[in-house]
């Protein structure tokens, strides 16, 4: 399933966003924990889109690598 790729991407992104959050907290202080509802909604959609993008990258890599040779066998059978 090549799930390792997804794991690396989410792991890396989480670590980087964490650093970004710390930097923002140092910049704006406690206001960081009181975001406007519109910003929260925007961040929610952004988060979901990032997960969707990672899944798209993962499926493309999986199709190209074709670890079990499913696509290859389908192509050569016809």
């Amino acid at each position: 399933m090549n799930l390792g790729l997804l794991c690396w991407m989410f792991w890396g992104a989480s670590a980087m966003w964490f650093v970004d959050a710390i930097v923002e907290y140092l910049d704006i202080g406690s206001e960081y924990f009181n975001p406007a509802p519109a910003d929260m909604l925007n961040d929610l959609f952004l988060g979901l889109s990032v997960v969707a993008l990672a899944l798209v990258i993962w499926i493309i890599v999986l199709l190209i690598k074709d670890p079990k040779g499913v696509i290859k066998s389908k192509i050569f059978r016809k």
Binding site: L5, M9, F10, W11, G12, A13, A15, V19, D20, V50
Partner: protein, 139 residues
Amino acid sequence: MACFAAPAAEAIIVAAASKIIEKNENKSEEIEVSFDGINVESAHKIPFSRKLRWLSFIQLGGAVLLMFEHIWHGEIVPFFPFLTAASDTVSLGQMLYEIATTGVAMAVFTTAIWLVMLGVSAVIEKRAIREAKAISKTK
């Protein structure tokens, strides 16, 4: 603005280094183990080039997803100069400052995570080889 540039650059360097190391790497220590006396399996240490690839995957994966965030916020555009902050000198300076501070902090933090992973992996590998040796002695 473009903080993902620092970890992305490190990921590219690390990926190149892992390729070079992989070519010059000696075969890792390998022990043959049989748990049932019939089937023989081999246990070996994970090569360092593969461990380096973990770091490049963490950093490149994170940088790609972070780049998407910058596209979302309109900081990356599909036309020259591609980064909106690069259009004037004042914001260019801010962007370079952000790369040098936040970007470098991201690269350092992901490298620190990787170093912890190396430590955990070394402990697991040593334990597995020690147990495999003990099992093969008793058989």
